[in-house]
């Protein structure tokens, strides 16, 4: 695994959920076509719940409640469980990958970089020990860490999910900058048909988006050298083709 020649889009423009999912899909498409690793760092124009590709959302969440709380809902192309995005640094990473072993290697590499970025900001970040994967039936992403995800104070602060298709890995993840998911998430889940105890969350804020993005870019650069920019127009064109699918409630609430 090498980050040599990696590309970066540090997206300062807040976008809605469907646009972010479309741009992440475009990132994977671009990476596959050019055989180069690529990273996007971004933020949200409003609170957004992203559902895992195969997650049973209709059983776990009430659309009306999420709408009432002002949250957009989209379904990711990657696996895992739901995440409430608000005050977080979200990323997408894409790279050539031909096997689950490649995907695991990228997972470890990216989380190692995120941990070093948080350490640079002064936090005692560490990687979670190996743990059995949670089912998709209950809970949300930040309820539990799988092996290799990033912890601060023993609580998960960065988690990721992946899609491996057509020789390209797409990894989507987020760093909770507030140390905890939005309080509205607790309300949304409490009003759902199923609710579990509120997860343990980090008790300290991890800083602002700009400082966190700087630290992540610095940690990637330490490993792969200075990044080249992603061609914004090409990415925009690819994303435009993907956006209608991610904006379609039929896709979001398919399960």
């Amino acid at each position: 695994m090498t980050l040599a020649g990696w590309r970066l889009e540090r997206d300062e423009s807040p976008r809605d959920g469907a646009s972010q999912m479309a741009r992440d899909a475009a990132l994977a498409e671009w990476s596959g076509a050019h055989g180069q690793p690529a990273l996007r760092l971004y933020r949200w124009s409003r609170a957004c719940v992203t559902l895992g590709r195969h997650e049973s959302a209709r059983r776990k969440f009430a659309p009306a409640t999420l709408a009432e709380l002002g949250a957009e809902v989209v379904r990711r192309p990657t696996g895992g469980r739901a995440v409430w995005h608000a005050h977080d640094l979200t990323y997408a990473f894409a790279a050539p990958a031909s096997s689950p072993a490649d995907a695991r290697a990228w997972f470890a590499l990216v989380h190692g970089v995120l941990a070093r970025a948080l350490q640079r900001l002064g936090f005692a970040a560490e990687l979670a020990p190996a743990a059995r994967a949670a089912t998709l039936r209950d809970g949300a992403c930040f309820d539990a860490a799988v092996g290799g995800e990033v912890l601060v104070d023993g609580a998960k602060v960065a988690g990721s999910a992946q899609r491996l298709a057509a020789g390209v890995l797409l990894q989507q993840g987020t760093v909770l900058l507030s140390g905890a998911e939005d309080q509205r998430w607790r309300i949304a889940r409490a009003r759902g048909r199923r609710c579990e105890p509120y997860p343990r969350q980090a008790n300290q804020a991890l800083g602002g988006w700009d400082a966190a993005a700087d630290a992540v870019v610095h940690a990637f650069t330490a490993l792969g050298g200075p990044p080249l920019p992603l061609p914004a127009e090409a990415l925009e064109a690819l994303a435009a083709a993907h956006r209608p699918s991610y904006a379609d409630p039929g896709w979001t609430w398919q399960r």
Partner: protein, 128 residues
Amino acid sequence: MDLPDDLRYTAEHAWIRPTADAAVFRCGITDHAQGELGDIVYLNFPSVGAAVTAGLPYGSIEAVKTVSELYSPLTGTVTALNTALEADPALVNKAPYGDGWIVELRAESPAAVAALLDAAGYRTAIGA
């Protein structure tokens, strides 16, 4: 790694086994593939009657938060699904060549099976 000699394989980690109907084959993923994927939590099936094409995705499988595509070993039509996987997707981990089978396909050209890999060929393909 379990690799039965009586099955045919693809480099995309699918196996197929003949059924009582000479044109219908039971398919799944190999023991090697399930071991690489890890704990499987969900499978996304095609519908019975769906057309599939050899070498192209026909569904997806999720393990440890990673979604991967399932590639069809044959061109043809889906005739049966292993619905037991809806309740217990881990059957693919526990018995990849038995209760963890995924679909049955009616091959457009049953003779195409002869072109697939035998156990030794698959072993070479994965570098085992």
